[in-house]
């Protein structure tokens, strides 16, 4: 545990070496090996640290490691006088960060391994660059997770944003990829604005950045039930940051576009780890949030609306990664719903299980895309089950997990959230159940379109001239191929956004997949470095939920008990306030029961009663949600496998709604039309102002200078030079006369003398 500071540092070192030396010198294999090795050691250290953490008594599970002083003491004004601003590079290992640590290093390592195969076709320097970014991401993510104060977390927070930008724009020659990177970065900036304001506010209020100190101080403050006080303001600002990072309404638009990055990146950053940073941050500040019930309500509403909206968009998308992206947004919405209803442990639990199955699904989709030579449109897939058995099996496990089929991981975490939502707010619960239904439906739709049915992709070289393959590829009617025909006749929304245009689609196919006819030999199972992480994650998706079996099913809900200390103020210092913390979590009897705090004895009987009453309800709810999931799955199977014409007919019947969903509620267009257009217009106005007024002033000054200098030059030439020349002229002209006299002839001089004498004598005579 003493070496936890090494955990972030190792990937950082890997990134440094790969970035400085690797891009020029390393082979593909060497850079991949280096990156994987650093992650392996980091995972080993994390496991050891976690083991040691578990060995501690449950109320003392925390370890602080300060590796260096960052900001020395500076007096700074706060709410009550002056405090010393002092920030150490401090890392804290407690149950929450320990769990995140394992998720980040574990899934990070698997994805590094996966990437060695997935990126094998990239140029040599590109692979090293990729692993440099990926390692750098892990470095910042681990710093974010381990940081024991807001500023260290903020460094990681911004760092993962940077790496996300770099990795989304990894194929930077592609305009859409670099645009998506910019979009992600700028959208995150808006969130970070809120986050950093929240951090400032935290310091102003509490005079410290340390998480533990802030939680303890906040725990001692009254719960702001009736008014929107300082804690509410802090929490709202922090939630703005969380919404940016974790893609919640209204800042979720960047995440679907982030799918432009390589698939391992989508899996690691945009599904398993970075996007959950917002959830993690809310969990870190659980005491703050539970003291601001109004903000909690906002969090819950935003979360559940995001979940519903993203899930509904996911119903109709055709890009396999986009479906998963909207699924991620939706699941993040779930996590925030959990946070919002006070179920911090359930939200964090879902974070962990989601990390497993969503990383699995993304890597599976990467495997499919790899097999299809870059094809991402599910309409051109189908029937891949027989080509990719391992991918199919693992993805099926992930799908069942996310749909919430017991006993896979997603079931426990999702049901926990649904149950807590049910206790807190029935409306939230209804929306969440609808979302669960949609989740099951769109995930199974994805599976059906990809793995079931008949192959609809482009033909390949060896059998490419077979009649069936060609016919299937081009959507031409073939007697033995009724499903392909049905699909081909279906609406082609990606292309036309309108009713069916089968001929246009045929043309697109010919152009769009011409490149694949070269060296591509049809869909195939991915190499071992790709399937191995899939299998490992599938195991994770199966067993990860077992740490959180709820009491109603005879489990101990281990993870909730384990995480509980991270979400509460320290009991010793905040004894008086713990009551208010728990009472702030309205309708969360089990949290209180599990917390088993000695000072709550007088209230326990009543709470036990509530818990017992709700056990039956809980089992009923579980059965209901499983039923919903099964219905979603079977509907999807019916729509997309057994009778695919139904889905086309439905899409035609509700063409308006379908178009609305397909265009993602036109939110991008709305943002383009309002915020972006407004920004552009005001920028243009400012530019005009700049050009006319500011530049005008500068140019005017220069004009004045030019004119005055012209006048000055004129004066110089005429007056000053004139005077000098005039003197010269006078001398020259005067000398002309005298030069005449200087003939050198004696007689002239004598004559002049004579005239002179004559003149003098005449004057003398006349004057006298």
């Amino acid at each position: 545990m003493r070496y936890i500071w090494l955990i972030p540092l190792l990937p950082g070192l890997g990134a440094l070496v790969n970035g400085v030396v690797g891009i020029r010198a390393f082979s593909r294999k060497a850079s991949g090996l280096l990156a994987c090795a650093t992650m392996t050691v980091a995972l080993g250290l994390s496991l050891v640290a976690f083991w040691q953490l578990l060995a501690l008594p449950s109320d003392a599970r925390a370890y602080d490691a300060v590796i260096a002083q960052w900001i020395p003491k500076i007096p700074l004004a706060t709410h009550d006088g002056f405090a010393a601003l002092e920030v150490p590079w401090g890392f804290r290992l407690d149950p929450l960060s320990g769990m995140m640590l394992l998720v980040v290093t574990g899934i990070g390592l698997l994805i590094h391994v996966y990437s060695t195969a997935y990126m094998a076709d990239e140029p040599r320097g590109g692979v090293a660059r990729f692993f440099c970014y990926l390692n750098l991401f892990c470095f910042f993510m681990l710093m974010l997770v381990l940081g024991n104060n807001f500023l260290v977390m903020f460094v990681g927070w911004e760092g993962v944003g940077l790496c996300s930008y770099l990795l989304i724009g990894y194929w930077y020659e592609k305009k859409s990829a670099s645009d998506a990177g910019k979009k992600a970065f700028i959208t995150n900036r808006i969130g970070d604005w809120g986050f950093v304001l929240g951090v400032f506010f935290v310091y102003y209020t509490f005079g410290t950045f340390d998480f533990r100190a802030v939680q303890n101080a906040a725990g001692a403050m009254p719960v702001e039930t009736a008014h929107f006080g300082v804690l509410s303001a802090i929490c709202l600002l922090l939630f703005v940051g969380a919404a940016g990072k974790s893609a919640q309404i209204p800042l979720y638009v960047w995440l679907p576009d982030a799918m432009e990055g390589p698939t391992p990146v989508s899996a690691l950053i945009h599904a398993a780890t970075m996007v959950t940073a917002g959830v993690y941050m809310v969990g870190r500040n659980a005491v703050l949030f539970s003291h601001a019930p109004m903000v909690m309500e906002i969090v819950a509403i935003v979360g559940v609306l995001t979940a519903l909206m993203a899930a509904s968009i996911g119903l109709v998308q055709y890009d396999i990664k986009r479906v998963l992206a909207y699924s991620t947004v939706s699941q993040l919405g779930y996590m925030f719903t959990a946070m919002g209803v006070g179920a911090f442990a359930a939200g964090t639990f879902h974070l962990m299980t989601h990390a497993f199955f969503k990383a699995l699904l993304f890597l599976g989709s990467g495997s499919v895309i790899h097999a299809m030579a870059g094809e991402q449109d599910m309409r051109h897939m189908g029937g891949l089950k027989k080509y990719q058995p391992v991918t199919f099996a693992t993805m099926m496990i992930g799908t069942l997990a996310i749909a919430g089929i017991p006993p896979l991981a997603g079931f426990f975490s999702k049901d926990e959230i649904l149950f807590r939502a049910f206790l807190a707010n029935k409306a939230v619960w209804v929306i969440a159940v609808m979302t669960a239904f949609m989740t099951a439906f769109y995930m199974f739709r994805l599976m059906s379109m990809t793995f079931f049915g008949d192959y609809r992709g482009p033909a390949w070289e060896t059998t490419g001239h077979g009649a069936a393959a060609v016919a299937a590829a081009h959507g031409v009617k073939h007697p033995a191929d009724p499903h392909a025909h049905g699909r081909a006749q279906g609406p082609d929304h990606e292309v036309s956004h309108g009713p069916a245009e089968p001929h246009a689609k045929t043309g697109d196919d010919d152009q769009g997949h011409g490149h694949a006819h070269g060296a591509w030999h049809g869909p195939h199972e991915s190499p071992t470095p790709m399937t191995l992480p899939l299998q490992a994650l599938a195991v994770g998706a199966i067993i990860a939920g077992f740490v959180g079996i709820p009491a109603a099913l005879g489990g101990g809900n281990t993870i909730e008990k384990f995480l509980e200390p991270s979400f509460a103020a320290e009991q010793v210092e905040a004894r008086g306030s713990t009551r208010s913390t728990s009472s702030g979590q309205a309708g969360s009897p089990r949290a209180d029961a599990n917390a088993a705090r000695p000072e709550l004895v007088e209230g326990r009987a009543e709470e036990h009663e509530t818990a017992h009453v709700s056990t039956g309800v809980e089992i009923g709810l579980m059965a209901f949600s499983v039923l919903v999931a099964v219905v979603g799955i079977s509907l999807a199977y019916k729509f997309y496998v057994t009778s695919p014409e139904i889905s086309a007919r439905l899409a035609d019947r509700w063409a308006g709604a379908h178009r609305l969903l397909l265009n993602k509620y036109y939110v991008d267009e709305l943002y383009n039309g309002t915020i972006i257009a407004g920004t552009m217009a005001s920028a243009r106005k400012l530019w005009t102002f700049d050009r006319n007024v500011v530049d005008g002033a500068v140019n005017g000054t220069s004009w004045l200078t030019v004119i005055s200098s012209w006048f000055s030059g004129l004066t110089d030439r005429t007056v000053v030079d004139g005077l000098v020349n005039f003197v010269g002229w006078i001398v020259q002209e005067g000398s002309l006369l005298f030069r005449r006299l200087q003939t050198g002839l004696v007689q002239n001089y004598a004559l002049l003398m004579l005239f002179g004498i004559f003149a003098f004598v005449s004057i003398y005579l006349l004057v006298r």
Partner: protein, 100 residues
């Protein structure tokens, strides 16, 4: 009866002839001769007034003038000779070494 006025008219006439000779003639020998005329015009005046005023100083002065004129002529002729040896001319127009 010859009065001082006549002497002075003669002397003035001689003086003017001398001056004109100095100014207009090119030959330096003739210029010297004109200078002699001027000196002698002065001598006439000196002797005339000496006789008129019954004072011998004027006559003595005239003798001095003749002596100085002789010396001057000697020096002048020497210069002319030297000049002639250099320039092979005694034309006064060409005696302009002072002119740049």
């Amino acid at each position: 009866m010859i009065t001082p006025v006549h002497y002075m008219l003669l002397s003035a006439a001689l003086f003017i002839i001398g001056v004109v000779g100095v100014l207009v003639r090119k030959n330096i020998i003739i210029i010297f001769m004109s200078i002699e005329l001027i000196l002698n015009a002065v001598n006439i005046n000196l002797v005339a007034f000496s006789a008129q005023l019954q004072n011998v100083v004027g006559q003595v002065f005239a003798v001095f003038v003749i002596a100085v004129a002789a010396a001057e002529a000697a020096v002048g002729l020497g210069i002319i000779l030297a000049f002639y040896r250099n320039k092979e001319t005694i034309n006064i127009d060409e005696m302009n070494l002072m002119r740049s």
